[in-house]
Symmetry: C2
Subunit: 332 residues, 2 copies
């Protein structure tokens, strides 16, 4: 009998829950909004209700193996507590995993959202044929996930993969994490918007100023559209994005020599605007990249590529965590 | 019967060869100088002669399992070629491993010198009870080694662990690797000497200027002694060393969340001069470090510590590579 797992992408805005079979087929996906304002217990309640619904519907035709949940925040793997999660106020230092397990009466795997996105791309996306890779998710913040030999690299306490908080500029922008000049301050949607507002305030971006006046929802996307229309201020902003990504990737390639680096998240939609600078900077700064991309070394090329699964990567990866755990049990 | 391996530390200046048993005991160590000037073949010839000597002497009383060789340079693991090695001119793009195996008629493992140093510290040094760690070796350059689950993390082509070429300052000093502002430009013995000469030339370091005039072999060690005697220019140089190490460690801890980071190599002798700044910078910049060092989290503390094996780390780690390979065979 085939089996299936439930994958959950518990974001600060949207809550998505999918039943996914062992071949990667999404049997059914429920999308709702995360009613953060109604409080933690209410969100957990409604999430568990939907998980049970899907579980009951497909259990029987498939064997159920567990639930994986991707959460934006720092998870202490040992205790199953959420330690920090700016997007889920009131959830920190709360035993999320055991609380959900209690309700579901089945195995629950809590994971950082960027880690499951990386695993999703490994299972069904850009890194399908790869065993080890890293992914940067460029969203409101910059998340990171490292996969080593097909498993999420958790590190000592499950906090590994925070590639968004690698220092790009020691004297740079202060970051919410306490550091300055983190990658997140140059390559997230928030950073793109901040850099645009700075340029507007400095009087250096008249077209962006007009776009902002015309559009109350002025966002990174608007800046990208301006860049694609040739606006030089907008183009310069995405060159800064590419420069920061290039410096971060160069360091990570020198440190880890992974075969593939995947760039995903909303801002990766602006690939055309930042990728040329990013690739140029990696080529200039990274001798391990250069050593692996010289002619005649086809089988050992370091690849830097766009994510393929879009917003589904986390959902898919979360389900795959439960499927991998089932496989590991079978191997015992 | 106990067994033993040969560990070799093939440096640009010294060549050390040791017979080490499976408990870590150094049965015998031969130290000679690496006659780089006499050419590659002559060095290989005399190294192989000494290896054979030790092998013949202890074979019988112990079972011989192989030879591990730590080399300063980039090794292509697939081919066993040395790809780049500034300290061993004429060795690059040469099949070092197969050439040595041909002479020894036994298994040879070629490894980067900083990788075997890290493995040595894991086996018998600062990281004895740890399974995963990273080590920075602060010497003429800055080497790095990452150990994941008791094995050297090689990455795709064996080039992983180059933590000395992580960018600290994007606009900083040009580095021999092609990048700018690499850790190596602020935390190596070469960098300490360069920063001292800069300070002397700028007229900011009268005591160091006097020390240089008095000592034709002006080195990082002299700068350290000046710092320990309270010279403010020398102290400022080691604060820069500590600052750069702190930034690099913060990034690596956020990315990998390893339980231990070990600092070795000659410059680590100046620990008292750079460590206070290094620890302060990690504490300020690294939220994963902070999260793992808050009170009551004793079992999951991120440790940053000095290496314990000094110049023997590479030798010991190289032998352990051969011993690990023997273990892996036994497991099959």
């Amino acid at each position: 009998m085939s089996y299936f797992a439930i994958g959950v992408d518990l974001g600060g805005t949207n809550l998505r829950i999918a039943a996914i079979d062992d071949s990667g087929k999404q049997l059914e996906t429920i999308t709702t909004s995360t009613e953060v304002k109604r409080g933690r217990d209410s969100v957990i309640e409604s999430m568990c209700r939907d998980i049970c619904l899907l579980k009951a519907k497909y259990d029987g035709a498939y064997k159920f193996v567990g639930t994986g949940i991707g959460i934006p925040g720092i998870i202490d793997m040992e205790s199953g507590f959420l330690r920090e999660s700016p997007n889920l106020p009131g959830w920190s230092d709360f035993p999320v995993q055991s609380e959900i397990e209690k309700r579901l009466h089945s195995r629950v795997f809590l994971e950082n959202d960027a880690n499951v996105a990386a695993l999703g791309e490994l299972w069904l996306g850009a890194a399908r044929d790869i065993n080890s890779m890293a992914m940067l998710t460029l969203g409101t913040g910059v998340g990171g996930g490292i996969i080593m030999r097909r498993r999420i690299w958790h590190g000592m306490t499950g906090m590994a993969g925070e590639l968004g908080h690698v220092t790009i500029d020691p004297q740079g922008e202060p970051c919410g994490c306490g550091n300055r000049g983190c990658l997140e301050q140059y390559a997230s949607a928030t950073a793109v918007k901040r850099m645009a507002l700075e340029a507007i305030r400095a009087g250096k971006a008249p077209d962006l100023a007009r776009a902002m006046d015309a559009n109350p929802e002025f966002s990174a996307k608007v800046v990208f559209q301006a860049a694609m229309q040739g606006d030089s201020a907008a183009k310069a902003i995405f060159e800064r994005v590419g420069n920061a990504l290039g410096i971060a990737l160069a360091g990570s390639i020198n440190a880890l020599n992974l075969p593939m680096y995947v760039i995903g998240g909303g801002v990766s939609g602006a690939w055309e605007a930042f990728a040329p600078t990013m690739m140029k900077v990696v080529q200039e700064r990274c001798f391990v990249y250069k050593a692996t991309t010289t002619e005649g070394r086809g089988s050992t090329r370091t690849l830097i590529t766009r994510a393929l699964l879009g917003g589904d990567a986390g959902l898919i990866g979360a389900a795959f965590v439960a499927i991998q755990a089932h496989h590991a049990q079978l191997e015992l």
